[in-house]
Chain length 86, copies 7
Amino acid sequence: MASTILPLELVDRCIGSPIHVIMKNEREFTGTLMGFDDYVIDMVLRDVKEYQVTPGGIIETPLGQTLLNGNNIVMLIPGGRGPKAI
Amino acid sequence: MASTILPLELVDRCIGSPIHVIMKNEREFTGTLMGFDDYVIDMVLRDVKEYQVTPGGIIETPLGQTLLNGNNIVMLIPGGRGPKAI
Amino acid sequence: MASTILPLELVDRCIGSPIHVIMKNEREFTGTLMGFDDYVIDMVLRDVKEYQVTPGGIIETPLGQTLLNGNNIVMLIPGGRGPKAI
Amino acid sequence: MASTILPLELVDRCIGSPIHVIMKNEREFTGTLMGFDDYVIDMVLRDVKEYQVTPGGIIETPLGQTLLNGNNIVMLIPGGRGPKAI
Amino acid sequence: MASTILPLELVDRCIGSPIHVIMKNEREFTGTLMGFDDYVIDMVLRDVKEYQVTPGGIIETPLGQTLLNGNNIVMLIPGGRGPKAI
Amino acid sequence: MASTILPLELVDRCIGSPIHVIMKNEREFTGTLMGFDDYVIDMVLRDVKEYQVTPGGIIETPLGQTLLNGNNIVMLIPGGRGPKAI
Amino acid sequence: MASTILPLELVDRCIGSPIHVIMKNEREFTGTLMGFDDYVIDMVLRDVKEYQVTPGGIIETPLGQTLLNGNNIVMLIPGGRGPKAI
């Protein structure tokens, strides 16, 4: 039997946990999900790191607390290990 | 006689089964569909693999559970063999 | 006298018949239309082939059943001969 | 005195007549307008020709009947002579 | 005291007069405004000229009557002298 | 104590005053704000100048009265000195 | 226990405080948040600085008070140190 989960349920279960977010403009972030809204799924993260993949390796930039516009979020991966851990 | 199926019916039948998803930004994923919402068809997949087509071949990256933003999904193929199997 | 037809009427008449679809990202498909929804005209096709126009010719890739996001569909041509037949 | 016309009136008057349509992706078509819807102005054309402007001249491709997604239509010119006649 | 005018008032006053329109895809047109709709401000022009700015100068193409999709209009300049007169 | 202002209040206070507007396509304008609508914040300006930043300096083009499509406006700076004064 | 916060709550708490905003077109700003609207989260900032990252370093441009279109805002970082401090 398939265990099912709605997208908003998944986001809700991630509250207080680390997630990995990839944006339309290919920016990537990890952080702990602090909150979101139900409509466009804007998200607030804390302890955010941005990852830039360069020929010389992945550069991490700490950003603290950040609000991400949900219209620009392409995908969300619970666990939040970021591109370096992939 | 033509057998017909509505788009949401097709997505619903895929619950618990592998699918192949192609995004606006050309990212491609396979995974088992765990759930979706009816409005913009955001989807939750598990056992996700991302495929990057490079001159040297197709690189597979395991991502675990993933939420995909439905506004960025261009097409869905039930079966989920991914680009390598094509 | 002009014979008129509404866009959704045309799509409805294509149920069970081959069509040729061109997407915003220039991907092209043929397949038999199995269903669609009235709102954004998402479509389900079966026996789908994707066509890639390359300098060396047109590459056909069989995809089986496929759901296409209507927001990304630019045009639909009943008959479904694909770019090779043009 | 200015003679006025609403956009939908113009489209309606074109039913049964040739038009020239230019899309967001710069594709250009001529054809006889068979129908349209009032909301996003999707259009059905018959006897369609697509025009590709190349350094070697304009290539015409006959497409038969075609449905064009109104969200991707940038402009419509009644008369439908296409780019070659301009 | 500032004299104020609403955007739709300005468009309405242009009925029967020449205007210059610049589109999202950088196409530029002049023509006499024949009508518009209140919602997305689709416009109908007559005696339209399209202007293409090239290294060798500005090329004018007469288009006759034209419907422009309001979602693709970036700006409108009453007077309609076109880029050559600027 | 923080003094607060709503976005539409700011736009309203600019009526009759010079503003500097930057569009999605990077076009930049200054002019005196004559009016706007509350919904997508289309704006009417008079005494408009367009600024093009080139390697040889900034080129100013006078445009007179202009309607700007609010969906294409990225930012508005009261004062309207334009890029040259920055 | 996770401490949660809604996106609009975060924006509201930033009133009167410095923030760092990154736009769709990669423009970056810092400034003190003066107000916002609840719908598309247009924002008014004062004491704004724009940051341009160039090979020779980061160029700061003071802009004074600025209205940013919320549809073009990708992310907001409370604290407003800008890219140089990252």
